[in-house]
Symmetry: C2
Subunit: 202 residues, 2 copies
């Protein structure tokens, strides 16, 4: 049987996701998923007291729970639910931060099917409350990670039905910001937040 | 077999939790849990575009998932995990709000065992980032709901090991704020937030 992560995603081993030759070239990518990299980054921010950002737990609809005597309750039947919000949120310098993170294997565009109506609606609501809403997009083949403000994502998303079903990479380069990839933290998105949203403050 | 809520809590029916005579006196309490009342309140705030506050999903450690053909993935074995943060967070007027909500059947004090170290640590971290952190405490017998700033909770919590294991109700009355109970929204805590944290702004 295939080994699976707690989130249900199949475990593929460190080398299966990238060929050895590719890994030699892209030093920064150690075969970790975007989620793992962001969890590591957020943990770094937390320890350094720079920000308090957490990934929300995967929403699950629990149907049946067993309560064996003398041991922990066991969930015997449950289903994955669609999230009504984005995955990450928290506080940085008094401001509310809210984002979703997605990756693609495409090279020249980012498919909009990675986002769903609820999440777009949520980002609009956050913007109304003057929260900082954005997405982190990774092109996994080249290990390029961009921060794109929610306002731009929403614009592309709302055009989706009438026109193309993805965002051109050239548009992400134009409207978004390349995040520098490092070792610790891996994806230092607060550096971009500082320069884009707080440029007048520091 | 007992019917259970999605969160695993046993369903007791609307009348089991309060006697009929009591319900006649406390009109405001319709036998709903604090969580249900807050979800209704947050939904109200969302619809009125007043704030975007959500309860985080219950964290679950998923061990085994079945993928039947032509139907949704079924989680066959999972366990409840202890949350590393508080249950509720979101954005209001540009500010980050973060809170935990608990109720007690005690009449004169609130047991501190309702909170655990991780949550207290999280509240401290939020305060460092200038987030607004607090707890909502309900005395369910009298249906009195208080908002208490995290700074006071932390003070009482840190005294716990050396002295008493609960907060006196008189201290909650002294340091906290009574939240007006209504129909729609049920627990209008933003009214208190406005008067306590934003009194100089409006």
């Amino acid at each position: 049987m295939a080994i699976r992560y707690p989130n249900g995603r199949q475990f593929k081993g460190p080398s299966a996701s990238k060929k050895a030759s590719q890994r030699e070239i892209t030093y920064s990518n150690r075969g970790m998923t975007l989620e793992e990299d962001l969890n590591e980054t957020n943990q770094f921010y937390l320890e350094k007291k720079r920000a308090v950002i957490h990934k929300k737990p995967t929403p699950v609809q629990i149907v049946q729970v067993d309560y064996p005597k003398r041991s922990a309750a066991v969930i015997k039947e449950a289903y994955f639910k669609q999230a009504s919000t984005t995955d990450y949120n928290g506080v940085y310098r008094g401001h509310y931060l809210d984002f979703e993170a997605k990756e693609t294997k495409n090279k020249t565009s980012f498919p909009l099917q990675n986002f769903h109506d609820h999440q777009i609606e949520h980002m609009k609501q956050v913007m109304i409350q003057n929260g900082i809403a954005f997405v982190i997009l990774r092109f996994s083949i080249t290990d390029e990670v961009y921060l794109l403000d929610a306002s731009h994502l929403i614009q592309f998303y709302d055009q989706k039905k009438s026109s193309r079903k993805s965002i051109r990479k050239s548009d992400i380069e134009k409207y978004g910001y390349l995040i520098k990839i490092g070792y610790h933290p891996r994806i230092d998105y607060l550096q971009v937040i500082d320069s884009v949203y707080f440029k007048d403050e520091s």
